[in-house]
């Protein structure tokens, strides 16, 4: 229930959002406050609802390529990856290995970009203005690289059923190698400026503790789950694409507070760099598009569920077909939706400033929740 103003004036009802600097988009959180202490926090969603799922049911598969990137603007490629994998699974299309490697390389770069964006925005929530500019400096390199191969900086629509729509060239490969070196050298400054900073530590340590039980209860995934000590990562538990051939760790931290989630994401960036590096080394030759992709993709009859690990957690596509080229049902399980549902339980009894830190540490991307 959304709280109503209290006639006794003991508590205060405050609308945080839909326009508020730290709700990052159009999320509205209705707060019931006692002084600065939050009693209840009710997220109100739907301000950015664009009917993406419904659009998936009236368009054919290729018509939906553009939609996937619009749901999560920070990590668009994972969304594309899940979509094409679901369709390929339904149709039994074999993707050439080079295409799969390219998908992994670009998705992991996109994951780093997404985490960098989160890093800056989280620090901005905590009141530090400068780190976001440093992380954007790095993110800009990734976007330049991805722009060079996909043609767009944010809404890539790069993956196609059966492969990808453009091959990597030498400039991208060299640029990525340079970027990996550069990014590794930048982490030191991040750790000095932020991780070690006493004010930052005091703001995030022991704040917003999520127990593993809560994670299971609410179905939270991604860095949020791994920050509570649950090593749940789709890339490991249900390997898709070529992740089973690559060597990387799943960073987990048991504390469950904002700081653990922060460290998970920073460690994940380093792991993603490892993945990109290995994938570049092993990049096979060959075509980037499967030979026998029918022009008209007839789906089903039947249904598939395909999950991938997006930057924010488990992203699932449920696709049901009835034999036509337009899906009968397309259901998307975005990670942030479940992660957001943790908020009310986390928020009771914390200070307003902590609520902002907690929301930041959940890494919410609102368009993905609203869809």
């Amino acid at each position: 229930m959304i709280p109503r103003p209290d006639p006794t004036l003991e508590t205060l009802v405050l609308n945080m959002g839909p326009q508020h600097p730290s709700t990052h988009g159009v999320l509205r959180v209705v707060l019931k406050l006692d002084g600065e202490y939050v009693l209840e926090a009710h997220p109100v969603i739907g301000y950015g609802h664009r009917m993406h799922e419904k659009m998936g049911e009236v368009r054919n598969v290729s018509g939906f390529y553009a939609n996937v990137g619009r749901m999560d603007y920070a990590g668009a490629l994972s969304f594309g990856h899940g979509h094409v994998l679901a369709v390929e699974r339904m149709l039994g299309i074999e993707v050439p290995p080079r295409a799969e490697y390219i998908r992994v390389i670009t998705t992991e770069l996109n994951r780093i970009a997404s985490h960098l964006l989160w890093f800056g925005a989280f620090l901005l929530d905590l009141g530090a203005f400068t780190p976001i500019l440093y992380s954007f400096d790095d993110r800009e390199y990734i976007l330049d690289l991805l722009e060079h191969v996909t043609g767009a900086r944010l809404t890539f629509s790069y993956f196609r059923v059966g492969g990808v729509n453009r091959d990597l060239d030498e400039r991208f490969i060299q640029g990525t190698r340079v970027f990996i070196r550069r990014m590794r050298s930048r982490f030191e400054a991040y750790h000095k400026l932020v991780t070690g900073n006493v004010i930052f530590r005091k703001r995030v340590e022991g704040v917003g503790i999520i127990s593993p039980d809560m994670i299971r209860k609410y179905g939270a995934t991604g860095p949020v789950a791994r920050g509570s000590g649950i090593p749940y990562d789709i890339r490991r538990v249900e390997p898709y694409s070529v992740y089973s051939e690559l060597d990387f760790d799943i960073p987990t931290f048991p504390e469950g507070d904002c700081f653990a989630r922060y460290r998970v994401r920073l460690a994940e960036m380093e792991q993603s760099l490892r993945i990109v590096e290995q994938a570049l080394d092993r990049l096979p030759d060959g075509s980037v598009m499967a030979e026998k992709v029918p022009r008209k993709l007839k789906l089903g009859p039947g249904e598939v569920y395909q999950a991938v690990e997006a930057a924010r957690g488990e992203l699932g596509y449920y696709l049901a077909g009835d034999g036509t080229d337009v899906p009968y049902r397309l259901k998307i399980r975005p990670p942030s939706y479940s992660n957001l549902s943790l908020l009310n339980e986390l928020a009771s009894g914390v200070l307003l400033a902590d609520l902002v830190a907690i929301m930041g540490s959940l890494d919410l991307v609102i368009p993905e929740i609203d869809r």
Binding site: E147, K192, V198
Partner: protein, 168 residues
């Protein structure tokens, strides 16, 4: 007691370390571009709105008016029209309109075209005061681009039907 002072000193030290990082970056050169004055080179793979491919030698287009692009577009932003001139075998493109306000730059049209008659432009400095500024007449753009390349545009040159004089 010792812990109390240790904490203070460690805290202060971490703050000084932070100051050193920002101080060092402050003295390093800036990384931004003074946008309207300097521009970065745009990658040749950039996907702007679509354009008709110009043959720089002949000034002809490659479109065969098969309507594949119009059908492939999920947002319905393309309108293609063609006519069969007297005695000709093939249809000739007479009109190609793009409603860029609806385009999501998915690239389906370019992939669908059997003759590779359309390509992505590199226009990104797009601004307008009305949404009609983004309804492009690609045939008109084709003519302009031909002239910029120094060839005579040979597109849609059927004798245009003279517009009716307004009735008084």
């Amino acid at each position: 007691m010792i812990r109390y002072f240790r904490e203070i000193f460690e805290g202060l030290w971490s703050l000084l370390v932070g100051l050193k990082v920002t101080g060092r970056f402050a003295l390093a050169p800036t990384v931004t571009t003074h946008y309207p004055f300097d521009e970065l080179e745009v990658t040749p793979n950039y996907r702007g709105h679509i354009d008709l491919v110009v043959n720089p030698k002949t000034g002809k287009d490659k479109c065969i008016v098969c309507m594949m692009c119009q059908r492939a577009c999920p947002s319905g932003c393309i309108t293609v029209k063609g006519e069969k001139p007297e005695g000709a075998k093939k249809k000739v493109l007479t009109e190609y309109r793009l409603d860029f306000t609806k385009c999501s730059l998915c690239g389906n049209c370019v992939e669908a075209c059997p003759t590779s008659a359309i390509e992505f432009s590199h226009e990104y400095n797009l601004a307008g005061t009305s949404r009609h500024d983004f309804h492009y007449d690609l045939v008109e753009r084709f003519r302009d681009r031909c002239r910029a390349l120094g060839v005579e545009p040979k597109i849609a040159d059927l004798t245009p039907v003279a517009p009716k004089p307004p009735e008084s």
